[in-house]
């Protein structure tokens, strides 16, 4: 079975709040705020694909990413972890924040890739948190989609998948071809590759397809756009510090409790 993992690089999510800002004109954070890294849920999706390959369920893993420029982190990392192929859709003129447009590009690339039977995506990109691309891809390819998956196994001609459900876990069977969106789980911490594989990955090619290569006209790409960002702003965090003095610990605790009640942060049970 050939699996394709949809990857995305996002702004470092550990960027300290003090460093975060928004470019008011572009309505989004500027690109030079920090490093772009393979998103955490995409890491989980990649790890699940690699585990399925280790288990022999999947025979080939392709990493697919749509982004302008020459992203460095995600595809190289995928190759260093023994993905068989890495493909970038050079998404010049597309808006990475627009799930519909992103799905349009990915679907065109997936159609061009040889018969992927399993498409794995992160449950959502860690920057805009839309959580739509996986489902949009499934819809446009006419495939079933299962969301919030954290484990998968072969079950005859089907896949048995475990997904997070409200208050528990749901097990489903799904017959490929299918799309899975993958959530975080301790078992899906992205592995560390060997140095040999890493050095070999630097010599492996990354396939790059432009929008034209995929037969998408600029008009069609523009028409796929569904998102308009009205305004983006960073929340203002105000800190107020109040020091409660005292010698008697019991008295201090009582003062803290009553202050918390006054601030409606705590209510005592009757």
């Amino acid at each position: 079975m050939h699996a394709v993992v949809l990857l995305k690089e996002i702004l470092d999510w550990e960027l300290p709040a003090s460093k975060f800002r928004v470019d008011d004109e572009a309505k989004r954070p500027p690109l030079d705020l920090g490093p772009s890294l393979l998103g955490p849920f995409e890491q989980n999706a990649l790890e699940l694909a690699l585990q399925l390959k280790d288990a022999g369920v999947v025979t080939r893993v392709t990493a697919l990413l749509a982004a302008p420029g020459e992203p460095v982190d995600g595809l190289r990392k995928a190759l260093a972890l023994r993905c068989d192929e890495a493909v970038q859709v050079v998404a010049e003129g597309a808006d990475a924040a627009d799930p519909s447009q992103t799905a349009e590009l990915l679907v065109a690339a997936l159609r061009r890739l040889e018969s992927p039977e399993l498409v794995l995506a992160g449950r959502q990109a860690g920057d805009w948190d839309h959580g739509q691309v996986g489902y949009l891809v499934a819809e446009r390819l006419g495939l079933p989609a299962v969301g919030l998956v954290f484990r998968a196994e072969r079950d005859g001609d089907r896949l048995r998948v475990w997904r997070v459900a409200p208050g528990g876990v749901e097990q489903l069977g799904v017959r490929p071809p299918a799309v899975l969106t993958v959530t975080s789980d301790a078992s899906l911490q992205l592995r560390m590759g060997s140095v040999m594989d890493r050095m070999a990955a630097n010599k492996k090619p990354i396939t790059r397809w432009t929008v034209e290569d995929l037969g998408l006209s600029p008009e069609r790409l523009a028409a796929a756009r569904r998102l308009e960002i009205v305004r983006t702003w960073a929340p203002e965090i105000e800190r107020q510090c109040e020091v409660i003095d005292g010698d008697d610990p019991a008295e201090i605790v009582a003062t803290v409790l009553s202050r918390l009640e006054e601030l409606k942060l705590l209510s005592r049970s009757p």
Partner: protein, 643 residues
């Protein structure tokens, strides 16, 4: 006699050749530099200074060593005198040396062996593992050879009624004891006993390369070959351009010949194990076992022995090492455990990818953000807020600066460590030191990558840092972190980084001495100093922090283990960023208890990682009211500055 001697020497030579074949499997390692220091260490070892650091085994060893040397000399004199005709054995020399000295040292030799037997079979310290029959095979023949020697001397005295017999007091005692056998009995027994004495010695000689006695030769040589000056405890670099690339130690051929030689120098004395913090905390590591398991596997399997990393030595053992070098400091024969352990880790990390989860996360973080702190809540330069400090970028000529202050990731990203940097800045400003901080241009020094075996990432970080520092024309660097110190001072030379690097305790001590730092201390606080491994054992700096503390007029008390024998805080070797799978007792709790036992109210250190570890150790062992404060030296200095 010469026939049996020849056989013995042939068997001996064959044994040595077998050893030699193993050592020759190893890679090249330079051992001919620093000759003066090497000979001084060898001399100290031969004079028994190293073994005498432990009293009972030291005395035992010195007695046996000197006793044996004199006995051997006595035998040599007999050989020269009677076989080569070089007449030495007469007059004062005969009485003074051949009789009295040899007799007395023979007695000391026996006494030493008796102590050895007492200690090994009755006292039985826990780290002295019994390995029979090899232990008995060393002690019993030596005892028998010495006893038969005295018996022969006693028989001779009893038969010839030597009027100079009093010059061999122990021999004389034997002669009294043997006298009842009668002169003729003694006369007929003498040749048999003599033959037995000689044959036992020849058999022992032949057995040397096959027993622990081989250390008579390998240990002194190993002491000479082991690195006599800093930097020590550094893994052999990896050549990533080589074809094929050798990723750490998997087979004997991946080791240097000195690392292989180490295995044969081991006397199984267990001192390394008795001081190892991982062993003390009940973790699955014994430095002695690492050496002996490698030795046994390589003796049995030769070049094909392996896989050494993860096979012969288990991953849990390798990951438990804090690289503190206490084992190397304690080892009386110059075994360098740490570089071998890191070499084995390199294979686990870079080739097999068998690493604790925390190591994988740390390496991922290093790769993404060039610092090892995950989930950092502040930026690299946030701590500078409100301080009037210039950044290196803004300096026109780095030569105008006295020092460039390298902050290190701990102070950049850990709020507790930021207080060290802020305190040091206050002291520098008070003293009028012209300095700038590297701050935003810093990357992790790579120590955590290197010590966890991730040499590939270490190389990237080290190269980038050296390129940046050299580009800015930096020559003199100040750091408060001993791990940064070790990298900048020693290990960056490999990347072309040659700097004069000073630890903050060294700089502050000299500023106090020059009168540039004026102190108005509140006298009297009782403090104890914890020597960070990478400042003390790695960089031999024990005095500077103590000089600073003494200038603060505190009441300084030492812990049971300090200076070269200091007990690790538990953070070294990357442990600040990962936990062992089988996490026995906490190393930092053991150390905090030792600090508390001094009665000190504050434990002072000079490393941001030690500080964190000791603080959490102190919390773990504090009993209600008595809680131990933890401070960096420079924080106390900043508090005591005269305005």
């Amino acid at each position: 006699m010469y026939a049996s001697m020849t056989v013995a020497l042939l068997v001996f030579a064959y044994g040595v050749w077998r050893r030699l074949r193993i050592w020759r499997l190893g890679r090249r390692q330079v051992v001919w530099d620093h000759l003066g220091a090497r000979f001084r260490r060898l001399l100290a070892a031969l004079l028994q200074a190293t073994v005498l650091r432990r009293r009972l085994p030291g005395v035992m060893h010195a007695l046996v060593f000197f006793g044996f040397l004199v006995l051997f000399g006595g035998t040599l004199v007999v050989f020269l005198d009677s076989d080569l005709g070089i007449k030495l054995n007469h007059g004062a020399f005969y009485l003074g040396f051949e009789s009295l000295t040899v007799d007395l040292f023979g007695g000391l030799f026996l006494l030493g062996l008796a102590i050895a037997v007492y200690r090994r079979y009755l006292l039985r310290p826990w780290f002295l593992e019994r390995r029979e029959p090899s232990d008995a095979l060393l002690l019993v023949p030596l005892l028998l050879i010495a006893l038969t020697g005295f018996a022969l001397e006693g028989m001779r005295l009893a038969v010839v009624h030597d009027r100079w017999g009093g010059w061999s007091p122990i021999g004389l005692a034997f002669s009294h004891a043997l006298a009842p056998l009668g002169r003729s009995g003694l006369r007929s027994a003498y040749p048999w006993l003599w033959a037995a004495h000689v044959l036992m010695w020849h058999a022992f000689l032949a057995a040397i390369p096959y027993t622990k006695a081989m250390h008579w030769f390998t240990s002194p040589l190993n002491i000479f070959f082991s690195r006599p000056v800093a930097p020590r405890g550094v893994p052999a670099p990896t050549d990533f351009d080589a074809e094929p690339v050798r990723l750490g130690i998997s087979a004997p051929a991946d080791m240097t010949w000195k690392q292989l030689f180490d295995l044969d120098a081991c006397t199984e004395c267990g001192r390394c194990e008795s001081v190892c913090p991982a062993t003390a905390a009940g973790k699955p590591l014994s430095p002695k076992r690492v050496i002996l398991d490698l030795r046994d596997a390589i003796r049995a399997g030769g070049a094909d022995a392996g896989p050494l990393a993860g096979g012969v030595v288990l991953p849990e053992a390798l990951w438990a090492c804090t690289t503190c070098r206490a084992c190397e400091e304690a080892c009386p024969v110059g075994i360098e455990h740490v570089s071998t352990i890191i070499g084995l880790r390199q294979n686990l990390a870079m080739d097999q990818v068998v690493v604790p989860p925390g190591v994988a996360e740390t390496v991922t973080a290093l790769e993404a953000r060039e610092h090892p702190f995950r989930g950092a809540s502040s930026g690299r330069t946030d701590w500078l807020e409100g301080l009037e400090v210039q950044e290196l970028d803004a300096v026109e000529d780095a030569d105008d600066l006295e020092v460039v202050y390298w902050i290190g990731c701990a102070a950049a990203f850990d709020e507790r460590a930021q207080q060290i940097a802020r305190a040091l800045v206050r002291v520098l400003q008070h003293a009028g030191v012209r300095f700038a901080v590297v701050a935003s241009k810093e990357r992790c020094n790579g120590d955590v990558a290197r010590r966890t075996g991730n040499e590939f990432h270490y190389d990237m970080l080290g190269n980038a840092n050296v390129e940046m520092l050299n580009g800015a024309g930096v020559t003199r660097i100040l750091t408060h972190c001993p791990h940064c110190l070790q990298q900048l001072r020693h290990e960056y030379r490999r990347f072309g980084g040659d700097y004069e690097v000073v630890h903050h305790t060294e700089l502050v001590a000299s500023l106090i001495e020059q009168g540039r730092v004026r102190l108005a201390p509140d006298a009297g606080e009782r403090v104890t100093f914890h020597d960070p491994c990478y400042l003390g054992r790695y960089n031999r700096q024990f005095d500077a922090p103590r000089l600073v503390l003494d200038a603060l007029k505190v009441q300084r008390v030492e812990m049971a283990r300090s200076r070269g024998e200091s007990f690790c805080c538990g953070a070294g070797g990357g442990h600040a960023f990962y936990e062992d799978a089988d996490d026995g007792e906490k190393i930092n709790a053991i150390r905090a208890r030792e600090a508390a036992a001094t009665g000190a109210s504050t434990v002072v250190t000079a490393c941001p990682f030690c500080l964190t570890m000791l603080a959490s150790g102190a919390r773990a062992v504090s009993s209600g009211e008595q809680s131990l404060r933890t401070r960096d030296v420079v924080e106390l200095v900043a508090e005591a500055l005269a305005d």
